[in-house]
């Protein structure tokens, strides 16, 4: 059982890392500006919809460079992480990053929700979609965290995004109803099991899809996959040894 002081040390290091990465500020403020811009140019409901579909990326971007860089740099071979304590630090980082991304997402959502309540454009369904988005975000974090055992720098995040780009290009070219793509996803019928499995496979690459109104059930599947990736991370961390490159 790690002591409270040990956890504070782990959290302080991870928190300082988040704060020191200028890209995190750029992405957060850029995202807020984008939502504001959509609201101004279109409507509140469209900006809220865009927010709900895009905020899981906050979890993804904060997960860059979680493991391999720190091992290869030798910075974990420190008095702070003797007797295998580096394992606790690497595992705990998942939770701290999830908490930071969640709090940022929640803060923006609360502002939007307050505006929605004032203008009577807020529906409780948005809350469910927000929860589905958080699940998608945690999925991103668990997947990117696992990838960061193998890839350095932000390439874990880049791989996820490249996968999505290729999938979306393929999907976009294959559907008949290109305008209003998200609306199409919202209303798409799944007549048989095969269609459902296909959609779930899509959601595994592009988990933001579970935010669409009718797909909240799929969020549970994504949550199960998140647990699987976290378990794989846990298993890798348990076997991890520090060998500087």
């Amino acid at each position: 059982m790690p002591s409270r002081d040990s956890l504070k040390v782990d959290f302080f290091i991870a928190w300082k890392k988040v704060l020191s990465a200028k890209i995190n500020y750029f992405l957060l403020w850029g995202f807020i500006a984008l939502i504001g811009y959509i609201w101004q140019k279109d409507s509140f409901s469209v900006s809220l919809k865009a927010y709900l579909h895009l905020f899981p990326y906050l979890f993804l971007f904060i997960s860059q460079d979680m493991v391999k860089d720190e091992i290869d740099s030798g910075s974990l071979e420190n008095v702070l992480f003797l007797k295998g304590d580096f394992r606790r630090y690497l595992w705990g980082k998942n939770f701290l990053l999830a908490a930071v991304a969640f709090l940022c997402s929640l803060a923006i959502f609360l502002v939007l929700a307050a505006c929605g309540l004032i203008t009577k454009q807020f529906s409780s369904l948005y809350l469910l979609q927000f929860i589905a988005g958080v699940i998608a975000g945690i999925y991103y974090l668990s997947l990117a965290g696992l990838l960061s055992f193998f890839f350095k720098g932000g390439s874990n995040v880049l791989i996820v995004i490249l996968g999505q780009v290729f999938l979306l290009i393929g999907l976009f070219l294959s559907v008949s109803q290109r305008p209003g793509f998200i609306d199409y996803l919202d209303q798409a019928p799944f007549p048989d099991l095969f269609s459902r499995v296909k959609f779930f496979a899509l959601a595994a690459v592009f988990p933001n899809a579970v935010v669409a109104k009718r797909f909240i059930g799929y969020a549970l599947g994504i949550a199960v996959l998140s647990l699987l990736f976290l378990s794989l991370q846990r298993a890798k961390i348990q076997k991890l040894e520090l060998q500087r490159k």
Partner: protein
């Protein structure tokens, strides 16, 4: 275990097919400075990492009770987003560290290791290599370790800093602490160590008290053509062949017997007084 702060038994570690450490058994006597010597790739750093818990042994065990360990690596590396003072503060959060006296303690330690305390306001990765090494000492000493493990204690340090670090080891010993040094600089280590352990190709070859071996033994070189190897074994269990010579560590009080045994051949004998480098070269090669 009472006399030893740490005991390793049958410690083994493989990297793929390469056996970095093979059945290493040794102990670190409490309140002593022990040198860990070996050639490049002998398994020193792997052994240290096994002790420190950065690597898991394939087999064997390490007993070290609940002692507080400090560690200075050969090439210290630090998170590049943290300032020196952040790392020191985090390190001092460990249980049992007196937080109130920390600033005074840091100031004293900085003086001892010739480290400029103003550097603590900067990110550690911006320090010179020598200052990173000194900072690593500072970080380890802040926790008042029972056992300080140092990989290449003098690397990257300038001569005044080498002297200050050497003095520091002596002070730690006086305070009842244990120091374990892994080094190539045998002559520097000889000035301060009490015990030595030699590792070669993953095997612990010998663990001895330096003064005992220096006071008790001499190194004898003897032409191979003058004597049979089997007969020499009666005079020493430390015997090896090198080119056209036998080399053996002989107890000083057996030297006259050896000379008597050799008779006329005693002219072909060279006797060398031992220093740590000679001992190291004898055992490690």
């Amino acid at each position: 275990m009472n006399d030893s702060i740490l005991r390793a038994e049958n410690l083994s570690k493989k990297y793929g097919r390469i056996e970095a450490v093979r059945g290493a058994t040794f102990s670190l006597p409490r309140n002593k400075i022990t040198a860990f010597l070996g050639e490049n790739g002998a398994g020193k750093t792997t052994t240290l990492k096994l002790i420190l818990g950065f690597l898991r042994p394939d087999s064997g065990r390490i007993d070290m009770g609940d002692c507080r360990i400090g560690y200075v690596s050969e090439r210290p590396a630090f998170f590049d987003w943290l300032k020196g003072k952040d790392i020191i503060t985090l390190t001092a959060r460990r249980p049992g560290i007196q937080k109130q006296s920390l600033p005074q303690k840091i100031e004293n330690l900085c003086q001892k290791i010739l480290f400029d305390p103003n550097l603590l306001e900067r990110n550690v990765q911006t320090y010179s290599l020598g200052n990173q090494k000194k900072f690593s000492y500072l970080q380890s000493l802040v926790i008042s370790p029972d056992l300080l493990i140092v990989d290449e204690p003098f690397s990257s340090l300038d001569p005044p800093s080498i002297k200050s670090v050497r003095d520091l080891f002596g002070e730690l010993k006086k305070e009842g602490r244990t120091v374990f040094l892994s080094s190539h600089l045998v002559s520097e280590v000889e000035k301060i160590c009490d015990e030595f352990i030699i590792i070669s190709k993953g095997d612990i070859i010998v663990q001895e008290n330096l003064n005992r071996i220096k006071e008790t033994f001499v190194l004898v070189h003897l032409e191979k053509s003058r004597v049979e190897k089997e007969k020499l074994k009666a005079f020493s269990s430390y015997l090896k062949e090198e080119n056209s010579f036998f080399q053996l560590l002989v107890e000083k009080n057996l030297l006259h017997k050896l000379k008597a045994f050799l008779g006329e051949s005693k002219e072909a004998v060279t006797i060398i007084t031992l220093d740590l480098e000679t001992i190291f070269l004898f055992f490690a090669r």
